[in-house]
Each structure stands twice: as structure tokens, then as C-alpha cells.
Symmetry: C2
């Protein structure tokens, strides 16, 4: 699924099989502009609660299905979503104190090969997720 770096959001929506409604554009824009993955509640807040919760849930779900967004969770209960538009493969560093998330351009692909050697039950490994946990500089200062 390739996206040019320049298609406006409504075009991206149509390519993904959606109608470019104000609601869908607003949600996609919120995800796209966000500097880190957002929860449903955070998206809702960014849209000033102008959008019905139901619509939000349904839209996000359809975005994930059509792979213009993806769901993430960092070992807490909340699910976060990030835009996949113009998003190269990357992983995340998460602050244990404040939950700040930074994208990092590192890749654990060689771990896939390593795991194939060690694994008894898998001869096919197709993808991987890596999350790193630490304390962000802001929180380090506060202590």
C-alpha cells in the first residue's frame, strides 16, 4: 500500500475506499498530525468532542482494517493508534513515568532470523514489534 508524500487526506481516504467526509478527514488529520500515538479519548478531545464516540470507534476500526492506521499498546490497558501515512518502519521508546512516546528509526529484523533458528514451532516469521522503555529527559530532570 503506497501513498505519495503529497496526496491530500481526502484523496488518501478515497484510495482506501472511504468517502471523504468531514468526520473521517478530521480523525485522519488528528492522527497524522499527532507527534505520538493517540488513544480514542485523546482523539476525541482533539476534535473538541464534536464527533460522536460511536463514529470515532467505527472509523478508527475501519482505518486499521484498511491499513491507513495501526493499533499499538505498550503493556498498559490503553490502545493507541498511529497514522500509517508516510510512516516508514519504526519502533517506539516509551517513558515509564509520563507515557511520552518517541519514534525511533531502528529495526529488529535480524531478530526474526535469530528467532527462526531458535524456534521449534515456527518456520515463518513475518513481522515484529519492538518497544523500548525508559525515562524521558523531561522526567529525568524532575527527579
Amino acid at each position: 500500500m503506497k501513498k505519495t508524500g503529497k496526496s491530500p487526506l481526502n484523496e488518501i481516504l478515497r484510495e482506501a475506499g472511504f468517502r471523504a467526509t468531514p468526520g473521517k478527514i478530521a480523525i485522519l488529520e488528528a492522527l497524522f498530525k499527532a507527534d505520538q500515538p493517540l488513544t480514542i479519548a485523546e482523539i476525541s478531545k482533539k476534535l473538541k468532542n464534536n464527533l460522536d464516540q460511536t463514529t470515532l470507534y467505527r472509523t478508527i476500526q475501519s482505518f486499521v482494517e484498511e491499513k491507513i492506521a495501526r493499533a499499538l499498546n505498550f503493556n498498559d490497558r490503553s490502545i493507541r493508534y498511529e497514522s500509517l501515512i508516510d510512516a516508514p518502519h519504526h519502533h517506539h521508546v516509551i517513558c515509564k513515568k509520563c507515557n511520552y512516546v518517541e519514534d525511533v528509526d531502528i529495526c529488529g529484523a535480524n531478530l526474526e532470523k535469530l528467532a527462526l533458528v531458535k524456534s521449534k514451532s515456527f518456520k515463518a516469521i513475518e513481522s515484529h514489534a519492538v518497544e523500548l522503555f525508559g525515562t524521558c529527559n523531561n522526567c529525568l530532570k524532575k527527579n
Copy 2:
């Protein structure tokens, strides 16, 4: 039947500050014997639903707090728990079809160093999680 490298389960419970009640022993045993991380529902089933759900939730939570178990989630909605007793550092390969989980003895620690170089907002990274996704040999056969 697995054996702990040191104390029996009731001793481990007491060391962690708990009373060695039948319920707690049963839950810890279920986690310890399981060959893969379990959801609350799966634990409940293994205990033949003899244990109140409330107790189960509260107990698991206390286990996680006292670090004799840990919570995991593999990008779906369900949270899974695994025993930390005699558990060396490891990661997981998850089958995308059937959710089978295998532990793999690989480590992404060097990714932490790599991320420290690339990151703008972190000078401290303390831990990491790696999940690999593939198709298990059983599911490969079925196709």
C-alpha cells in the same frame, strides 16, 4: 510437571508477602505450568471456574505488582499473564492465525543502545519488549 528451581509455590507466595491460600496457589500454579501466557478467562477455565472472578482479578493484579507474574499483550485486545518464577529474560513469537505463543531465547538489548544514539528525548532506556509474529507450523500445514 515443571518444578521450580528453588522453593515450592507456597514458599514463593510467602516470600512475596502473600498468604499461601489454596486460591493463590492454584492461580500461581496455573500460570507456572502453562506453556504460554494466559488470559484471565483461560486461567479461570483451567481452575474449572472454581474461583470467583473478583478474586482472580485481584490476585493476578497483586502478582504483577509483586513481580511474580507479568502482563503481556500482543496487539490484540486481550491481556495475557505469565509466571516470572524461574523465567529467564526472553521474548515471544506469536502465531497470527491461532495465537499460539512460543518463548524464544533471543534478546534485543543492543537495540536499546542503538535507540539511545538515535533518540532525541531519551538518555535512559531500561528495558525492552520484542514480539515476533508469524505462522506456526501447525497452521502452515492446514493451508
